[in-house]
Point group: C2
Chain length 476, copies 2
């Protein structure tokens, strides 16, 4: 295998190269022989499992159930809702042969499953008493991307897609908003990533949705990342797939739907918000291993203390890994750093003479001597994990605030983009023309319409009457 | 939605029809508009999640890590190991178009992932210090089956596939055996299904394996089900994919591999071993909901007691569902039965007058009055759950023993198969000719070679010298 202390390009020098270096050096993922697809390696997958557990718990607490729909979608079924199929047509993969025969009808590898859920709901929804149905599925989806980057844009990625059906538009809209809030909480509390919440413009919303709610995060470099979306469909799909139910007055009515999703792209966000030139930095809540233990030398006394520490950590359910192979201490420090383990505990003879062990925070690389005679080491570790989690959030928030700018006209926008890209707050009249004009400036796109106080009464682009305050940004 | 108390065909009258009736009536799965594929509905998926959790814990305890490999495999990569590709060629689906273009090379929807794991191991295994690598993945696979049945044989199914690579054949063989034992334990302890363990014959082993270990279960009807397999590859794949490492003597050597898998077919086994004419019967350990609570009438006193019961169950982490909509008590009883919930607790005024509630075991449909003044209800429930679990295993074992026969010649075999199919123990000389002769008798196949005392010294088929004791059976 590659050496752990492989060099990582400086983040400030070449952010894109730094990103892929971190992915490879920390063994989150590797390239595969399948074009545009990655192999998610143990560390990457363990992070994904922690994300799944936290989100899945939140989904189940709010009454959602998991199901599984087929991987392949017949072309005919896919085509029933026109906007969706037009949105995805350029980027799907088609199965045309099966069981050594050419197929009569092509089957699309699912890029998303609105069609299959709608077809299912068409079959099972008969009466208002069947509603709501609030289902979710964890699976992989496939989109034929041209340029790919690990976790950020990959032909195949893992995700969850929630699909719900309701008797009223009010209930469906509440559902879309509820899931939007769950994503926001997850990003802030688990991933330590502050997010802007708002609504996508007509141009940027999901194909087939009435509207799309989004959470948008800002990466260290000032680039924006669409992080999880929640769509309200009204009864567009219900009409296309004929999902009708008998209401309380015994009349047939079309149902209302939502969908919402989050993906392995969140791993990319973790890297681009928190990590540094030494490798990955993981927020404690999502880190698969919270503590690395490094014996400086494997003497009897050191081993004895480590055994005691292990059983204490076991008791408190704090995950750890002892780095006790025959590599050098320096190599182990680098290994622990590159993998983003929140706390490293070094145990050495000289420290034990003084009744101390040395803790190192991964996020700040700060060293802390802990007297083990007067302190309960697990309490110190638990407190420090909490401190790291909240400090990481605060630093990310500070960085985002620093890179959030106000613009009152196109000159402002250009000046900002020439200096340091970030979130640009600017008023907008609501026209697609103005969005297109912004795009000419280094590819700026509307990230979302926010519910904040207006900063002007006219559109920063055309000078017309302003309708909305919009966050703009360059996207991954 | 369909009514819960939909009629189920009698198991003894038409086993195949009974099976699909149970799947549909209990809402485990439904047919989809995608030919040969099913929709796994909430109850089916919740059972799968419980299976995943128990197996995944066992895998992790034994040092395995989860990863994720791509869904699509380029034809060229697939073809490197000849036996595997020949084994799967007739049943794969091919992607030939992507991103609106015809592809230069077809991509196969994974039927299994030996090729991708081997390609990955080729890239990362360099030295004996990198070994062993013990990885597993949870995913869906696709095989173009002609005749399909929910859970038992479906074009797409969910599974886990473990793939490991080792420095020595000894270690790899130990790994294959260890996983084989984990499957056996899981079947017996969690699914309450006794299994026969042994080795597949050359004819029946996995394409590309040196040998295959299998656990075989017997269904209520006497049909056998191959339930989970574990393969030792020697260095066949290592040679095809060039997986070499520097050993301790600094010499290049081919590595040794295993793979092992279990699938959603296990849900089919649960049905065919335990369920009855009233629907599903779930072993408590795998049941998503352990207890149904039915208020006979929603009076204040009944509701008050149910609230108390709920908080007690919460405290003991016993999952429950209260059936408190406006349907009749009879309808609720049928609903609880068809879904296989292990214990039903009926709470009514008349019972509360006597300080009792009535428990009903799903497996035996037996009613038990529990005095709630003198008994801790959660202790009673916990004990009963354990009793149900072990009783279900004992009954399944009894049934299997009753349907396990010895045959000393082909006449014996024919007589057994004319009366009641089951496991047939018979000696075998080791020749494929004899296996083919057995197959002429209603499709009998060798299930596995077992490590039990021989029952004869000559082959039951040709009369030649016997080599092995084999269990034979008709398969799903």
């Amino acid at each position: 295998m590659e050496k752990m202390n492989k060099e990582i390009t400086s983040r400030d020098k070449d952010f894109a190269k730094w990103y892929t270096d971190v992915v490879r050096a920390s063994h989150l993922a590797s390239y595969s022989s399948v074009k545009g697809c990655i192999v998610i390696e143990p560390l990457g997958y363990a992070i994904w499992e922690n994300m799944q557990r936290a989100l899945d718990d939140a989904f189940k607490r709010t009454g959602h159930k998991n199901v599984y729909m087929p991987l392949l979608i017949p072309e005919n079924l896919m085509k029933k809702e026109g906007e969706l199929v037009n949105g995805f047509a350029p980027e799907v993969a088609w199965v045309t042969e099966g069981g050594e025969k050419h197929l009569d009808e092509r089957l699309c590898v699912r890029p998303t499953s609105e069609t299959l859920f709608s077809d299912y709901y068409h079959n099972v929804v008969k009466s208002y008493r069947d509603l709501p149905l609030k289902y979710n599925q964890w699976c992989s989806v496939f989109r034929w991307e041209k340029e790919t980057r690990p976790f950020l844009r990959s032909r195949e990625f893992l995700w969850q897609e929630g699909h719900t059906v309701h008797a009223t538009n009010k209930e469906a809209e509440e559902e879309a908003l509820k899931m939007h809030k769950i994503y926001k909480e997850f990003f802030e509390n688990y991933l330590a990533i502050p997010v802007i919440t708002g609504r996508k413009t007509e141009k940027e919303k999901f194909a087939g949705a009435e509207y799309t709610l989004t959470i948008e995060a800002l990466m260290y470099s000032g680039v924006a990342l669409q992080s999880a979306t929640s769509h309200y469909f009204g009864n567009k799909f219900a009409k296309a797939y004929d999902i009708k139910f008998l209401n309380k007055d015994n009349k047939l009515e079309y149902a209302y739907q939502t969908s919402w999703g989050s993906t392995t792209r969140m791993i990319g966000a973790l890297i681009m918000v928190h990590s540094d030139d030494y490798g990955l930095v993981l927020p404690p809540k999502i880190a698969p291993v919270k503590v690395n233990i490094v014996p400086i030398k494997n003497t009897d006394r050191v081993n004895e203390y480590i055994d005691k520490l292990k059983s204490k950590l076991d008791k408190e359910n704090i995950t750890y890994e002892v780095l006790d192979d025959d590599k050098s201490a320096g190599y182990k420090f680098a290994e622990s750093e590159v993998k983003g383990v929140p706390i490293r505990v070094d145990v050495g003879e000289r420290d034990l003479d003084k009744n101390v062990v040395t803790l190192t925070r991964r996020d700040t690389r700060e060293k802390i001597e802990v007297n083990i005679e007067y302190n309960d080491i697990t309490v110190v570790i638990e407190t420090l994990l909490k401190t790291i989690q909240s400090d990481m959030y605060e630093r990310a928030l500070e960085r985002r605030n620093k890179l959030t700018f106000e613009a009152h006209n196109l000159d402002d926008v250009k000046k900002i983009m020439d200096t340091q890209p970030g979130f640009i707050k600017a008023m907008w009249c609501g026209s697609e023309d103005c969005e297109n004009k912004m795009k000419e400036i280094k590819g700026l796109k509307s990230r979302c319409i926010v519910d904040e106080d207006p900063i002007d009464d006219k559109c920063a682009i055309c000078g017309g009457k302003a309708k909305h305050l919009v966050y703009w940004g360059v996207q991954y």
